[in-house]
């Protein structure tokens, strides 16, 4: 019975993982950037350096902890789990340093925020990146 349930879970999970689209980083067309490197994105999301080459200040946007995209984003970007990312931010926040990325409630809201603010950046699945935004970085699986 247990083996059957395991198998069932495996079958249910397979189509889901196969269907997961690539994560991309999106920016506002007015940000004045065509492409970011992995180091650029790491520096922006970890709050080390948030100045884009165009001179615009980058405003990274995060998704809630419950979001599957968030865990995937940080794993693919810096090979870190969410508790590690949380510990990292508690170091900086409680030292009165850089603020963590702004929080969007959903991928749709993140796209709206990017479309509204020139410096905003967000990670979404590729199908979410519509005409209001441009893709500036693709995360490696």
């Amino acid at each position: 019975m247990r083996a059957f349930i395991s198998l069932l879970i495996l079958f249910l999970a397979l189509p889901l993982s196969a269907a997961a689209a690539d994560l991309v980083l999106i920016a506002n067309p007015k940000a004045g950037i065509a492409h970011l490197t992995q180091d650029d994105v790491t520096n922006i999301y970890l709050g080390r350096y948030r100045r884009l080459t165009s001179g615009v200040t980058a405003e990274p946007i995060d998704l809630p902890n419950e979001s599957e995209f968030k865990a995937r984003f940080y794993r693919q970007l810096v090979s870190k789990s969410l508790p590690e990312i949380n510990a990292y931010w508690s170091r900086l926040i409680f030292a009165g340093k850089t603020q963590p990325p702004q929080l969007a409630g959903s991928a749709e809201e993140a796209v709206r925020m990017v479309a509204r603010r020139p410096g905003a950046l967000a990670y979404v699945e590729r199908p979410h990146a519509d005409a209001r935004v441009v893709v500036v970085f693709e995360l490696a699986n």
Binding site: Y49, P83, N86, S90, I93, F94, G96, Q99, G105
Partner: protein, 405 residues
């Protein structure tokens, strides 16, 4: 009045804490410019020796010995950040921890305005953190550290947590990494537990420079800081008596007012995927003869296995005796008292650490740690109330729950 002040401070802390955990109060952080957060540690620890008391740093007047105690690690802090404009932020932080006066009275750790006219520049003024750690300015947010507590061998003598002053930092791309320079200056408003009694270092000027280079998973740091003590440790009537007998060199050695202590350190962190390794070296030079010059270092390495991160570490702290003599007979009370003071800042020990951190939830980490301290009988400065039978060896076991909210 003092009682009233304490109640009032506790009320403020409670209000902050409640507001911070009430989901409805600040549910939509993205829309609110005021953010309240908190952190804390519940910890219990014991050592294997009843001949000395293990402390976390020199500010603590009493430590733990061979029975379980939550004294040295348990604390609670709250922080409010108010983003006034895109460039200006106000930050306040209050912490209740075991203090120099044996109380847990809430203490204003940070209260500053931060101005960032540009993503490269940050200027802060007010009560700001003393930036000694490499991975964090705050040594009190246990959740943000891998081990149970910052290495007492390395951070123990750095009893300053904050200064009233200013700092300015500049971050620029260099090569494929980032270079960050920071200057800070101000004065410490802190008191610390001393031998004997409390040492009020209020008004002592502090300044320093920090240079960081961040390159992928690497962070390199060079740091220099200095403090000029604005008061003497109270040894009266010893200095006067020494002068009376012509032991002026010895009497001069007991002066700390106007004397500078200089701190130099180098550090490196490698943090890639599940592996993190960090190491630091420091040397502390004192103009005052009361404290022996020292050097210390630590290496800490952890490897994450899903939610559990086992870690190992080694740290050491050694001082150099000053060999100052009173020239008085060795069996005189003056000579014996002076020599006892000179010996009180001696350290010669190595600590081996093994532990594991378990990230139970996103905001809660449990830690278990064993420290084996191996030193000489003369190594008394890192501890409180060492007795005649202290042989320099003790084992400390700690169980810690660190949380943020």
């Amino acid at each position: 009045m003092r009682h009233f002040a304490r109640l009032w401070s506790l009320a403020i802390v409670a209000t902050f804490a409640l507001a911070g955990v009430t989901p409805s109060a600040f549910a939509d952080e993205a829309e609110s410019s005021l953010r309240l957060r908190g952190f804390g540690t519940l910890g219990t620890a014991r050592s294997s020796s009843n001949q000395t008391e293990f402390i976390r740093d020199l500010s603590q007047p009493q430590g733990i010995s061979n029975h379980w105690s939550s004294r040295i690690d348990s604390l609670l802090g709250v922080q409010a950040n108010w983003q006034a404009t895109d460039e200006l932020e106000l930050v306040g932080q209050v912490v209740s921890r075991y203090r120099y006066d044996k109380s847990r009275d809430p203490e204003l750790m940070w209260a500053f305005a931060k101005w960032e006219p540009d993503a490269r520049v940050s200027l802060r003024g007010g009560r700001i953190g003393a930036d000694f750690m490499m991975a964090a300015d705050s040594r009190l947010v246990g959740y943000s550290h891998l081990a149970a507590r910052p290495s007492p061998d390395y951070f123990g003598p750095l009893f300053f947590s904050y200064i009233d002053g200013v700092d300015a930092s500049l971050t620029l791309p260099l090569g494929s990494g980032l270079v960050r320079g920071k200057l800070f200056a101000g004065a410490t408003p802190e008191k610390t537990s001393g031998t004997p009694g409390i040492w009020d270092t209020d008004g002592s000027p502090v300044s320093g420079i920090v240079l960081d280079y961040l390159l992928g998973p690497w962070q390199f740091r060079a740091n220099m800081a200095q403090v000029r003590f604005a008061s003497d440790i109270q040894f009266a009537p010893l200095p006067g008596a020494l002068r009376l007998y012509g032991a002026n060199t010895a009497a001069d050695a007991l002066v700390s007012d106007g004397k500078t202590a200089r701190f130099y350190s180098l550090g490196v962190i490698y943090d890639q995927g599940p592996l993190q390794v960090q190491g630091m070296l420091n040397t502390i030079d004192h103009e005052s003869g009361v404290f022996q010059n020292s050097h210390a270092g630590y290496v800490l390495a952890g490897y994450r296995l899903d939610t559990i991160t086992p870690y190992v570490g080694v740290s050491w702290w050694k001082t150099r005796s000053r060999n100052i003599s009173t020239g008085l007979p060795a069996d005189s009370v003056l000579d014996m008292t002076f020599n006892a003071i000179m010996a009180a800042s001696a350290v010669d020990q190595t600590t081996y650490t093994v532990g594991a951190r378990w990230d139970v939830y996103a905001n809660l980490a449990l830690k278990a740690q064993w420290d084996a301290i191996r030193g000489t009988a003369a190594s008394v400065f890192p501890f409180q109330h060492s007795k005649a039978g202290w042989n320099g060896r003790t084992d400390v076991v700690s169980f810690i729950a660190d949380f943020v909210f």
